[in-house]
Symmetry: C2
């Protein structure tokens, strides 16, 4: 019993360079009875030319590939056209971000597509290997520091020269999730003096284990699912006051705060930016969600008073080779749960990992939150 | 006896962001009886606003500043207009690169300017603190690796994730002068596996002390003044053969080879580039001198087959704050030799450091090599 999997080439217009399947994963999954077909050149932008895939067929016809597949794999949400080309009962695995793409969610429902949205993978330890948000955020956190380093007018490490020593740079990371912790680790590697801040005090030990000082504001905003809850106005003022000095003395700040389904929280305001040092740099990883800083412009680098604010979008795509490697392996772990050699393709919806990751199934939007957001009358 | 020093604002058209005087150096030198005047906004681009300088006057009139000065300081070669504005017997301290700027050298000679060209500072230990080529190259070597890291589709360190480990990147640095050694150190800090290569075998130990493997080609091209001599054709073939494998397996290559007064030596040819891995990156620090790689274009990033070749120009200017700090301190050490509290301004031309750094003096081009290049009939 063969399972046919098609892999889409990401669309050029989005600037997406990743691919959902790397050669190593294709080889590893083949024994499960899977045949792979890919869109021609799907892996080229992530350093995986067609020739590097073994036992994979290539076709330039995206719709035919979608129509023929039991499972379609992609990184970014596919187009409506692609979803409409898929057969009823087929499976789509990709990032979907249903709240931002209601028409796509409805098309998946109406087309009776079973959609596993990678961003919905439950944050429980059994599902860690499927957690694409984390795997991609790790890379983004690394890259943010390097982006900062090339925008800064000074170096990160302390350096001794024949004319005296250069001081190490001061780096502040705000938001100590997966990305933020990786930023701290990378800045430390490069020799910077690091400080970390998060509204969740339990991140203190993690920051310290990476050689960073933890900025304690006295506010605890531990929330659900690994994210922080929103702060009250009083709490925000208290946090602001405690942070201003740290912001003012930083050479590089990386902000990484996100609240799921909401606008990115504002961590730094215009007044605080004005008080920063000449040449200071902020890398705002919250840019796509509206920005953690006042003045951030998504996809742009702007000069605001003394400070350069970089608002990168889709940072994992900038490390496309290894971002694809991790994403493809995240998908592999999902596929290994829904395909077995004996039973073939048989997702078990009584499993919380499977049901938790599912967005649509059998004509229904199975995720409650997104169903209410997309179709309030349902 | 007061010495008047004027500091020029670098011209915008060259994209130069450095400044020849930082506030800390101005304060340190003032007790020698020096008064400083700067062009308005001279330090802004390097994060030193006018307000950060104490006891320094500012004026927007560049020619008046030049005309009034006993000593003019700059980073890049000034214009002919500025040189013509200076008084006979005044001193100019800047990078000049006389072979590339023959008209400027003649104007300095004809204007009876005493010019100390920073790139001529002798490479002896007593002059180390004046060695601006080295101080700037150190920063360039650091920055080259970071530029490489943001162009690469993968990360430099080995990284363990919930879906397996990412391999550390392979970095090859060709040309182990000050810049190359700093590139090795920076790549190692970031967790890469590093290899170094230089035609001068005595660099082997230095590379190894930075945790790098040394690529031994069996060719010794030790030259004069800390630079390598040119290789013969036979030697070049031998080196090429030994290096090809190392080039092919590298994720990032930094090339830093220079032969003074000559075109940058070719270290990597088109065939070798073709054999590189998809996504590989070359940072060619020899770009300004014509490039160490076939296909390098100065000031541009080009895709050649599988490889991204970055040909940055004026890399120290990208780290303007600290590049200015080091350059200004290099100049400070020169000034401390030609100005004393007792005698005022009195350069001692019997001192090999002073005479070695001098390019023109009292109507003569004092540097033999440049005199012959600029004015062959002299």
């Amino acid at each position: 019993m063969t399972v046919k999997i098609s892999v889409l080439k990401e669309r050029d217009e989005g600037g997406e360079r990743r691919v959902a399947l790397i050669p190593q994963v294709a080889e590893k999954l083949a024994p499960l009875g899977i045949t792979f077909a890919m869109e021609t050149g799907a892996g080229v932008a992530s350093s995986y030319p067609d020739s590097t895939y073994k036992n994979v067929t290539f076709s330039p016809d995206r719709n035919a590939l979608a129509a023929d597949a039991d499972i379609v794999l992609a990184v970014q949400p596919p187009t409506l056209e692609t979803v409409k080309a898929m057969k009823p009962g087929a499976i789509l695995i990709a990032f979907i971000y249903g709240r931002n793409n209601p028409d796509l969610v409805k098309a998946l429902r109406d087309g009776k597509i079973t959609c596993f949205a990678m961003e919905l993978a439950p944050r429980i330890s059994r599902a860690q290997a499927m957690d694409a948000l984390s795997s991609q955020a790790t890379l983004a956190g690394y890259y943010a520091v390097l982006m900062g380093a090339v925008h800064m007018p000074k170096i990160l490490p302390m350096m001794t020269t024949a004319v005296g020593s250069l001081r190490a740079a001061q780096v502040l990371v705000m938001g100590l999730g997966v990305a933020g912790l990786q930023s701290l680790a990378t800045a430390k590697r490069l020799g910077a003096i690091t400080e970390g801040y998060d509204v969740r005090p339990e991140t203190k030990e993690e920051a310290q284990s990476l050689g960073a000082k933890f900025v304690d504001t006295g506010v605890d905003a531990t929330g659900q699912g690994g994210y922080a809850r929103e702060l009250t106005d009083d709490e925000k003022q208290k946090v602001r006051k405690a942070l201003s000095d740290h912001i003012a003395r930083s050479d590089l700040i990386v902000t990484t705060a996100a609240v799921p389904g909401k606008r990115a929280p504002r961590l730094i305001d215009a007044e605080q930016i004005k008080a920063m040092k000449p040449g200071a740099v902020i890398i705002d990883l919250g840019a796509e969600g509206g920005g953690n800083c006042e003045g951030t412009q998504a996809g742009q680098t702007v000069q605001v008073g003394p400070t350069t604010i970089v608002g990168p979008v889709n940072v994992p795509s900038m490390l496309a080779e290894q971002a694809s490697e991790l994403y493809s392996k995240n998908i592999m772990h999902l596929l290994q749960q829904i395909i077995t050699k004996d039973k073939g393709l048989a997702p078990d919806f009584t499993d919380e990992v499977i049901s938790g990751t599912a967005l649509t199934h059998d004509g229904t939007i199975t995720n409650d939150g997104i169903r209410k957001a997309v179709d309030p009358n349902s």
